[in-house]
């Protein structure tokens, strides 16, 4: 099943949640919608599910116009951040719900329903919880039950809204791996929304980065991390150093000082220089493009994070390997191994 979205616009009052979004999802993909809160990612997901309606634009599921159908007819599995399990029903009945509400003509008999629910509970590895109630489960268990419930109707596509957002860090990590292997097993076209870049990069085949109702970049996890298309993507994904620079006649300046950086093909004017924290190499004073004084050093496992005051007055944070211990008060030279400059 493919999903296609064309020129989608949605406003809430004066707030533009979606501002002309185009997106194509291929069959069998596991796609992440990544962005800060308010970027429109959840709105986009809800419109695809039929829980919200766009002001303009098209939604096609498998080539057919989906906007003529409500959520009920779209045959889409939806998993909510806060699970939305039915509290008065046992786990078994929660999962069976979608099968029990089918029109009488196609509704399966009780034996088939029981077998199907059992199969789904096995799939999410929680068959031993069938008789419990949702309030007796942990957050991670609830979310897996919510997923089993969504899969019961054999959805054409699966949509997950911040599925691990309400869980603690350790459980999130486990469930990420689990979701990826589950997707591999069932291979349903899936979109999940997250504001957690690590989650998006680890789980998805492709990542869509959104900001302010627009798509900033679509690409593989490697693409969006290694070659960010915009300043926003560079700043949002991975830890970056951001410095305001001026580009004029092929020369990059920080303040008044020219920097020995390549600036071919860059438009003149105010720009932003982005460097990953770990791409800033530390050398002796006098070497490299920048010079600065180390202010603080803290150790994070394999790296030391140093706050460095540049000679121009800006303060940046860098991650350096532990092989050469930095101390507060040291003067160091810094050379960006890789960097990107964006106009604006």
């Amino acid at each position: 099943m493919t999903i296609e979205v064309r020129k989608l616009v949605k406003t809430f009052g004066s707030f533009k949640a979606l501002d002309g979004v185009d997106l194509k999802v291929d069959s069998g993909e596991l796609l992440a919608l990544l962005g800060p809160s308010g970027s429109g990612k959840t709105t986009l997901l809800r419109i695809v599910a039929g829980l919200d309606w766009p002001d303009a634009g098209e939604v096609l599921i498998n080539g057919e116009d989906a906007l003529t159908h409500g959520a009920r007819e779209r045959h889409v599995g939806f998993v909510f951040q806060h699970y939305a399990l039915f509290r008065h029903m046992s786990v078994f009945e929660n999962v069976a719900f979608g099968l029990r509400v089918q029109p009488r003509a196609i509704r399966k008999d009780e034996t088939t329903i029981r077998a199907r629910v059992k199969e789904l509970l096995d799939l999410v590895q929680l068959d031993w919880l069938a008789d419990r109630y949702p309030n007796q489960l942990s957050g991670g268990q609830r979310q897996r039950i919510a997923l089993a419930r969504a899969l019961a109707i054999e959805p054409r596509i699966l949509l997950l809204d911040e599925p691990f957002g309400a869980l603690d860090a350790k459980v999130r990590k486990e469930l990420r791996k689990w979701l990826r292997s589950l997707h591999h097993e069932i291979n349903v076209t899936s979109i999940f929304v997250t504001h957690d870049q690590e989650e998006a990069l680890e789980v998805a085949n492709r990542v869509v980065v959104m900001d302010k109702g627009r798509i900033e970049q679509i690409g593989s996890p490697d693409d969006v991390y290694e070659t960010p298309a915009t300043a926003f993507v560079h700043g949002f994904i991975g830890e970056s150093i951001e410095l305001p620079v001026q580009v004029a006649d092929g020369v990059v300046r920080l303040g008044e000082r020219p920097l020995p950086l390549k600036a071919e093909g860059l438009a003149s004017g105010a720009s932003k220089l982005f460097v990953r924290r770990h791409d800033m190499l530390v050398g002796p004073a006098g070497s490299g493009a920048f010079e600065g004084a180390v202010q603080h050093v803290r150790n994070f496992g394999p790296v030391q994070r140093a706050e460095v005051a540049l000679s121009g007055g800006e303060t940046i944070e860098i991650d350096a390997p532990r092989d050469r211990e930095l101390r507060a008060g040291d003067t160091v030279g810094l050379e960006p191994r890789r960097y990107r400059i964006f106009a604006g």
């Binding site: 599910a49 039929g50 829980l51 409500g70 959520a71 009920r72 779209r74 045959h75 889409v76 599995g77 939806f78 909510f80 806060h82 939305a84 399990l85 039915f86 509290r87 008065h88 029903m89 719900f97 979608g98 029990r100 509400v101 089918q102 109630y133 309030n135 007796q136 942990s138 919510a146 419930r149 969504a150 019961a152 109707i153």
Partner: protein, 278 residues
């Protein structure tokens, strides 16, 4: 209690508050009720039975309990609809309507009785058009029914309202995306979630209607065997100095009230148990 445990209590006064609680509940509730039972024990079983099985007593009890149950059922249905509108929709005047629900709580029952009687009397604003249709409300059992509905409505609304407010609209969306129609979502998801609160509201409205006196006696007409409620019969027997008769009827009402309170308690426990967060 050991000295350490005593020192650990941050708020003083367990002994004082517990003592006051027990004394107060005894003086206000337990002793009068016990007195009532002791008084009715003065009757032999035959006498007791004779009083209860007299036509007038039976009719009064039937009118009180029957109409109260009917009124509670009407309140359950109408109250649920009112709660739904108040909680789920934003409309002009919503806060005013929300406040109006409490009027039957706050209004002195005699005032309510007089107002309803004036309204439904044969020349009243509502009584006149109804009389033209051949429906007589004031001074008939129908009048009792109307008064009981009036005083019972806040109980259903105020019991169900907080539960519906807590009900996450996402569960309706979840039901919809799983293929449930609106009707199925209502019957299989929303109503079962509200069921404990609805039943509690029903029981409270019923208990209130059974005991209602002030507003009912104005509109009832108080014809023995037709529109005479049990509380009024108790008052009549007392004024005739037939204390044993009065206490026998009172004891029956008390037992029924206890059963209702017990049922409400069980319902709430069931609901808490089911919905308890971990």
């Amino acid at each position: 209690m050991s000295a350490i445990a005593a020192r650990r209590r941050t708020l003083p006064g367990f002994g004082l508050t517990m003592g006051l609680t027990l004394t107060w509940l005894s003086v206000i509730i337990l002793i009068p009720l016990a007195g009532l039972f002791l008084k009715s024990l003065e009757l032999s079983l035959e006498q007791f039975w004779a009083i209860l099985s007299s036509r007038r007593t039976l009719n009064a009890l039937r009118i009180s309990f029957g109409l109260a149950f009917g009124a509670a059922c009407v309140n359950l249905v109408m109250g649920s609809i009112i709660v739904w509108a108040l909680v789920r929709y934003r409309f002009p005047g919503r806060r005013i309507f929300d406040a109006i629900v409490d009027v039957p709580f706050a209004l002195p029952t005699a005032v309510a009785g007089v107002a309803l009687t004036a309204l439904f009397a044969e020349k009243g604003w509502l009584g006149a058009p109804l009389a033209a249709l051949g429906i007589k409300v004031a001074f008939t059992p129908l009048g009792i029914f109307v008064a009981m509905i009036f005083i019972g409505i806040p109980f259903v609304v105020r019991t169900v309202q907080p539960v519906l407010q807590d009900l996450d609209p996402e569960i309706e969306e979840a039901a919809g995306s799983l293929g449930a129609s609106r009707w199925q979502t209502m019957i299989r998801v929303i109503l079962p979630s509200l069921a404990p609160a609805l039943l509690t509201g029903l029981a409270l409205a019923f208990a209130r209607a059974v005991g209602e006196y002030g507003s009912v006696i104005f509109i009832a007409g108080n014809l023995p065997n037709v529109s005479e409620i049990a509380p009024l019969l108790i008052v009549i027997r007392l004024s005739e100095f037939r204390y044993a008769d009065a206490t026998a009827i009172a004891a029956v009402m008390l037992v029924v009230s206890f059963i209702v309170i017990f049922a409400v308690n069980r319902l709430q426990r069931w609901a808490q148990h089911r919905d308890a967060e971990r």
